[in-house]
Symmetry: C2
Amino acid sequence: MIQQLNKGDNQVKKIYELLKENDFKITPQRKVILNLFFDRIGEHLSAEEVYNILQENHPEIGLATVYRTLDLFAELDVLQKMSFDDGKNRYELNNNEIHHHHHLICVDCGKVTEFSDDLLEALEEQITRKTKFKINDHKVKFYGICKDCQETR
Amino acid sequence: MIQQLNKGDNQVKKIYELLKENDFKITPQRKVILNLFFDRIGEHLSAEEVYNILQENHPEIGLATVYRTLDLFAELDVLQKMSFDDGKNRYELNNNEIHHHHHLICVDCGKVTEFSDDLLEALEEQITRKTKFKINDHKVKFYGICKDCQETR
DNA sequence: ATGCTGTTGATATTAGCTATCAGTGAGGGT
DNA sequence: ACCCTCACTGATAGCTAATATCAACAGCAT
Ligand SMILES: [Mn+2]
Ligand SMILES: [Mn+2]
Ligand SMILES: [Zn+2]
Ligand SMILES: [Zn+2]
């Protein structure tokens, strides 16, 4: 019987290889935390939130390990690290399909919407040309009022 | 004799009026901290850094007041609040001339370069059209290698 | 199977920031 | 110029996200 693989499995395998390439070990804790993010695409989780979710099925994983693992995956660009100005860092899978979307933060209700299109190439090109600054990443946050909050007013 | 006013003084006066309009008092502490930012245009100061600078000429101003004043001015849009991912908030004067510039952060040496703001209108318009999200502010950070770090390699 | 070395969990510690509260003073009214 | 009121201040205690420490553990190369 041919082994069935879904898209997530393939991505996971690649990330395991990425760990190996960089001399990091594939530990059960890292597997579990990685799977958690594949199960929750679209959410922006803090370390504490990840830890709390783990309590149900993996209470043996310590909080320090959660912090360390999130940092490691962010370093490897597996997770994207971000902050919505609430005093804690948040993480989400750096999925190829939704690569580097922008975040729209509602200043009224705090909801975070995503916008996938990038459209920053022109600006980045202009910046590099003028400043000789070699750009390889960006973080863009838009603040405003979401659709729901505009209606309920 | 006609009172000589430089550009800074005029801006300061406007900010005093802004405080009055919003029923905030013009205290010596607020005057001093505001002046400090006019004296240090281009710097991105943390609360602790402001407090340390004040130690020389105004050691009577407490750290809590610094935090409160920075927050107040940020709320009034006099200062722009930002973070370069080093765990502390930073502030700089929201100068009319350099209004809302982007920050280019060198991942090698940590230096922050500025790039005056434009070319985002098209993107914002498209986002509003597609998502009905009413944008009224944005924060954009670019990460890469600065000119100096490219040369010394 | 063995050994090296990266990793982990528990916990102490740090650091940026906020809350508290009694005393102070800015500014409007007289 | 003198009150009066209440926003403001400084000192400091408290909070919380994140990091440092360290002995025990476990991937994984051999
Ligand atoms: Mn997102
Ligand atoms: Mn700046
Ligand atoms: Zn909203
Ligand atoms: Zn640099």
